[in-house]
């Protein structure tokens, strides 16, 4: 067990440690903080979505307090019509506003799909009208919420030209990537992980903290097996890595953070480092983002590979509700450890 463990403070240098203790936020609080700070900084930033205004403050309370603080002109409750209000966000964005649109659940983004992939995504390429909106999509499962409140639909958007897609795994990135997404001049889909909302705490830099879009992060270093993942599965991977470290297997864990554009350099570096790659995500494995990562490695790092590229993702079935079924459906630390162990032994 000689690999440096960088997961505990998510890569912040040792010197910053004392500040770390003082600025520990939950993942969900980090999202809210990013919204509040960006709204204070830029009057063009506004929030739209179902039930987002106070006193309710959104299904998960992410926007709680924001309409009280900034007024209902800047926090707009929308009728239940995602296709329409996402299109409206595009219109607002064309005029230079920066709407942050909340999907009540990521699952419902399919209702606005047409406007996202056809209009917003293609607009700049077609006539150079920039569309600087963000859609926040509370995703992922493990919470016994069934097929329509547990989805991870990121692959659809990674395949669609013209979008950016991010998926923070830590409170720091939850804040940093949301700020980056709001300031980006393109449509960005921000997949936040519901299972991390209140269960995950971590250091979050105060104020202006921007995690650049397109840059992955090494969460743990190791020489035996590389695990490439994102979102909630980062923590399952780190847990698996810890288990395996006890067995003498050292895992490199790469958090992609941005899914479009992928940080190809970091992916290839991580893959070539160990020559053994396991790719993990909660979303359906079949034709998921992990397929693209595997294909990229098989094309560009082939000569460094010492083992088949392994993938672990959700099964190719609707996400089931009942605990034994949902647990069978989802990747977790134990399944990751099993596959990484096999790779190490290959």
């Amino acid at each position: 067990m000689n690999a440096a463990v960088v997961s505990a403070n998510y890569g912040f240098a040792e010197a910053e440690r004392s500040a770390v203790e003082e600025r520990t936020l939950t993942y969900i609080a980090a999202i809210s903080e990013a919204l509040r700070e960006e709204m204070a900084r830029d009057p063009n930033v506004l929030i739209m979505g179902e039930d987002v205004a106070d006193p309710f403050g959104g299904a998960f309370k992410v926007t709680k307090g924001l309409s009280d603080e900034f007024g209902t002109r800047r926090v707009l409750n929308m009728p239940m019509a995602e296709l329409g209000f996402i299109g409206a966000a595009t219109g607002m964005a064309l005029m230079g506003l920066r709407p942050v649109v909340e999907m009540q659940f990521a699952d419902f983004i399919s209702a606005g799909f047409d406007s996202i992939v056809q209009f917003a995504a293609t607009n700049y390429y077609r006539w150079q009208g920039a569309v600087p909106w963000v859609i926040r999509a509370p995703s992922d499962g493990g919470l016994r919420s069934g097929p329509f409140h547990s989805q991870n639909p990121e692959a659809w958007f990674v395949h669609a030209p013209g979008l950016k897609v991010v998926a923070p795994a830590t409170p720091a990135d939850a804040k940093g990537l949301l700020i980056a997404a709001i300031r980006d001049n393109n449509p960005v889909i921000y997949f936040e992980s519901k299972p991390l909302y209140r269960s995950l705490k971590g250091y979050v830099p105060p104020g202006e903290h921007v995690t650049p879009i397109g840059v992955a992060q090494t969460m743990r270093q190791g020489d035996d097996v590389t695990i490439i993942t994102y979102g909630a599965q980062v923590h399952q991977a780190l847990e698996a890595a810890q288990t395996l470290a006890v067995e003498g297997i050292e895992c490199e864990v790469l958090d992609l953070r941005t899914l479009k554009p992928l940080d190809e350099e970091a992916i290839l570096a991580a893959a070539t480092k160990t020559g053994k790659v396991l790719i993990v995500h909660s979303a359906n494995r079949l034709a998921g983002v992990g397929a693209e990562v595997a294909a990229l490695i098989a094309e560009r790092a082939f000569e460094w590979l010492d083992a088949p590229i392994a993938r672990l993702g959700g099964l190719d079935v609707p996400i089931p509700f009942s605990p034994p079924l949902e647990d069978a459906y989802r990747p977790n630390a134990a399944k990751i450890a099993r596959m990484a162990r096999e790779l190490a032994r290959f």
């Binding site: 006193p55 309710f56 019509a81 659940f105 016994r144 069934g146 097929p147 079935v317 509700f321």
Partner: protein, 320 residues
Amino acid sequence: MLSNEQRIELYYWMQLTRAFDDLMVATWRGGRGLGGVFSQRGHEAISIGSGYALAPEDVVAPMHRDLGCYLLRGMAPVRIFANMLGRANGVSRGRDVNLHGAGDLGLNLVGFISHLPHSLPVAVGVAMSFTYRREARVALTYVGDGSSSAGLFHESLNLASVQKAPFVLIIENNQYAYSTPLSQQMNIADIAVRAASYGIPGVVVDGNDVEAVYAATKTAVERARAGDGPSLIECKTMRMLGHAIHDGAEYVPRELLAEWEKRDPIVTYAARLVAEGVADQDELNEIAHRCAVEVADALAEAERSPFPDAATVTEGVYAP
């Protein structure tokens, strides 16, 4: 005209729905539930009054506040509780949550998905299949006030109208869509006026009066069965508890609730049945008791039922 027996039946079904709901709410609040559930409190007259107007061969696609309609059409309470508890003998075999996925074509029930109001075009398609096959059957579904803002409301009613489909749409206007009041969903007083956009009849009824709902639905169903096309019925009511079990609905003014409490569909119907000499209070109490026992037994059985086997997770994705 409803016979006395029928009126007592209506009371029974509403009472069974309420008993189920009360027990469900208590169980989930007590921490013995799994996932979220939607209370039906206050909606009993709508799902029962409308469902009662249908023939068994008609097809219904109930939504998340139409528990009564499932019960009325013969879905055993134990199958529903088992579904809510993720058991293998639940309607969806542990696949889907609460009332979602509670479809059963044997009972002519189409299950719904979360995405609202997707049962609407599906029910129109069911109705179109009746036209296609020249069957004298009717399809009926429900939509909330909030969900009526979605494009499918428009696409479905328009399609039903141009196809003259034997279709009935019940709008459950319960004043709120989750936390959002009507005034932020629309700029009209009655959703029923939208019927004119499709050249079909639209009426407003008291959604807490089971016989009014029944009568309006009956008229619409007969019209549909006669080949005269779709209708729309707006039932005004109030969602008496939160959106789902976790929601305290602090955003709803207490006075509004108090006002609607006086109009409870079951309490008022009981009073009416007694006043009109259809039943005496003892009889009604006996029914309420019977319902309570029925749902308690169902819950107990559901709680004793096994979870599905993890190994079955990939089974049944595709029809053979």
